[in-house]
Symmetry: C3
Subunit: 352 residues, 3 copies
Amino acid sequence: MSTQQSAQTEPNANAGFAPGWYIVAASKDVGARPKPFMLNGLPIVTFRDSNGQSVSLLDRCAHRNAPLSAGRVIGGNIQCHYHGWEFDGAGACKTVPGLCGEPDHPARRVPSFACRDSQGWVWVYSEPDVDPESEPYDIPCADQPGYLTIREHLEMPGPLDAVAENALDVPHTAFVHAGLFRKNADRKPIEVVIRALDGGVEAQFIGEERPKGLVGRLLAPQGGEVFHWDRFLLPCIAQVEYRLSDRSHIITTAALTPRTPTVTDIFATVAVKVPVPNAILRGIFKPVAMRILRQDIEILRRQTEQVKRFGGEEFASTEIDVLGLRIKKLLREASRGKASTAQEERRIKMLV
Amino acid sequence: MSTQQSAQTEPNANAGFAPGWYIVAASKDVGARPKPFMLNGLPIVTFRDSNGQSVSLLDRCAHRNAPLSAGRVIGGNIQCHYHGWEFDGAGACKTVPGLCGEPDHPARRVPSFACRDSQGWVWVYSEPDVDPESEPYDIPCADQPGYLTIREHLEMPGPLDAVAENALDVPHTAFVHAGLFRKNADRKPIEVVIRALDGGVEAQFIGEERPKGLVGRLLAPQGGEVFHWDRFLLPCIAQVEYRLSDRSHIITTAALTPRTPTVTDIFATVAVKVPVPNAILRGIFKPVAMRILRQDIEILRRQTEQVKRFGGEEFASTEIDVLGLRIKKLLREASRGKASTAQEERRIKMLV
Amino acid sequence: MSTQQSAQTEPNANAGFAPGWYIVAASKDVGARPKPFMLNGLPIVTFRDSNGQSVSLLDRCAHRNAPLSAGRVIGGNIQCHYHGWEFDGAGACKTVPGLCGEPDHPARRVPSFACRDSQGWVWVYSEPDVDPESEPYDIPCADQPGYLTIREHLEMPGPLDAVAENALDVPHTAFVHAGLFRKNADRKPIEVVIRALDGGVEAQFIGEERPKGLVGRLLAPQGGEVFHWDRFLLPCIAQVEYRLSDRSHIITTAALTPRTPTVTDIFATVAVKVPVPNAILRGIFKPVAMRILRQDIEILRRQTEQVKRFGGEEFASTEIDVLGLRIKKLLREASRGKASTAQEERRIKMLV
């Protein structure tokens, strides 16, 4: 349908897929059996080679296209269930049962993906048959002394940019998570500084009070000054960091993996240092986090469904949508192979 | 597939969507909570403003496209569940929580639809941001003295034109509703006069006997002469009227609302004046009507499924298909903004 | 995605649909009620005319496109459930209830398909309104003296060419059916002769040992020399023949009917002459056959799903894929109306 304001809203734009390292599984979940997953619509299988290294291949046998993940790992090679062809971690064909000649042949190769075990996660580089110049993102504070580190995997409805914006968005918390973070009452103005990072963007919130509600009381029982940053880093990191005095520090790093254009996996690492015993923290964390995530899943599901019904997005933004448009732009540029151009720092006021 | 008779049958033609007033809900069902519906594939939300007037907006928040119907009504405005943006009944943005400046802005408007409560139904004009020149259709005899008035809402499989033809078609009743209306036996010829109406078409059946079976015995216990008209009026009215002497009059007005290209809502108003006590009439009406409708739903479901399998319609007609082709033509012309051209009166013979 | 080996693998090619005779039902299943089925995406209905002959029409009433199969057979004609139109076995319209004039008219014809009862099956010729020059395939040994004949119907996931290759493929048996036919161990080289047939292709296996495992012990309790042929015959026959001395002969003829591009019906006729009592054979046959078929269904389902995910096939083959590529070529040529060009005989070695 045509509407009067079309010209003034953002065009219906798919944010695009940025090449790079993505988490595809917890390291502990890649063991003796092949583990399939979907990265940006592409079926990929991960297994461990004879050295115990995690390796990743396109999940399609070169022969008759059966999924390799339905087979098994034999001596560090993956064996297809259909005709028993075997491939090593680099994708070379090592066995064609019944064939008298040499099995290895360029036409029988399966594309392979660079693969790393790092900080409890298996990371895969999104482009096949490439030796990447970079290494996976280093998650701050994970497993560092004094920090309780919690890892969770969750499937979210929605494209990566919508999930990232949702994860880093302050204004929705007073509505979707009413009573947990903030309330839509007694708002006070604070300052937000938005600054470009190398391949990313950061919003710093200055003058914020201790978060209201349950989460705030957990983070800073005694109150005090709050430092709060929300960050997005290409290709897939959404990070929320809170410091409340020297005693409390919580940094949540969500690695977002697009499974399909409308489903995104979240692999979250939460590193927490607070003056609360770990046992209590563990007991409280999971139910609170799950309540928040269920609320976000519900609104993302509705948003995604409505965008699909209308055949695309038609978003209007205000200056308090501090990161959403910038995330889309970073993804769009990266998907076209353009480096992000640094921006001037921007300051705005927001009522929280 | 190609078949020999293709050239002689009607082409595969979508009947099109005619702009105008459509029923979207019973008035009593639009209360304190927003009510969503789908008009021709477009999600629309209806709620009551601070004056208790029903109002309708596109069911998509201007901000991040969440469905407004998932939110709630506060002081006559609808509040989005995601970030709390509020819109009045005209679609103007009245609140952006957290924003320091003025919320109202052309880019933040939501398209609105003219909306009326009339005769127990909520009617919506199909074109957004338009002040329509016409008012909703006036349903004859509804709630008039001496008439029992019954309202029903039902979802039918099939496009509007197929549902309208089915509702107004005489020949199928001997098969789909065998034993309820007519039988495929002892047929006698009657005359049918087909005449153009202003934006519509009418078939009058002359010389018809009292309908056979249960329905006939209800309508005219003593028999007598029967007057019977079937009518279609743009954009959505299918009407069946029976008069049997001065004592019996039944007029069923079905307002058809296309939900999607293959699902049509029927909002039916049945006004009945018969020499049967209302309590008995009410007791009999519902089970008989539901039996008829279930039979029509079944055949429409099968027809729609088969048309979909073949990738479109390929209909052959005879002269006793008195209204079907004309309904398609009226809809097709109206969807292209053309007024219907009046036709000569046509008379045919039919065996009923 | 682009991969390095694309140029050396077969292109993503739909094998195409070859016109001809296809089985659509067991003869015993076409009785008093119309029987619907799907041939290459086309809904067809089969019923018996007043002579008890099986006849087939397009399953779409010429009038309003309702499925004729939802109606009933009256005096050898099929009656549509919607308005009672009746059609004879040749598709001519014999009755339009309510119409004063002649019902038969070219525009009211329903396309008809040549239809035969042969060897326990109903065969339909795939092209409408054609008097075919050929007759259905004559299944060898079916119901011949000394042969136990078993018929089964099964739905398989996958296109016809994938199902045919699977049915005729030797190398997969050591993996998908491990322990039933062959093992992936103690392999010995044998010779395979691949020769063109008239409208088909055959692979003969020379020097093969008695099949290992349960199936082998059933076929040839005393061992002995093995003769084994796998054949494909246009448009739809996949045949496996084993001879083990004069006393044992098993010939399985699978007629493959493409229902949709990814679902294929198998109508199998198994004719068996072995030195085992029929009662024992019947008792063993069904559970063993069903176990094999369930394993094939599972791998075909996975293959089909993966090909769909990738938007097409990308197969690499070796010389021991003796029939797959040739089957695709035969189907592709036949679908374009080209006759198959005869090939030189080819001999290869295979380890079985």
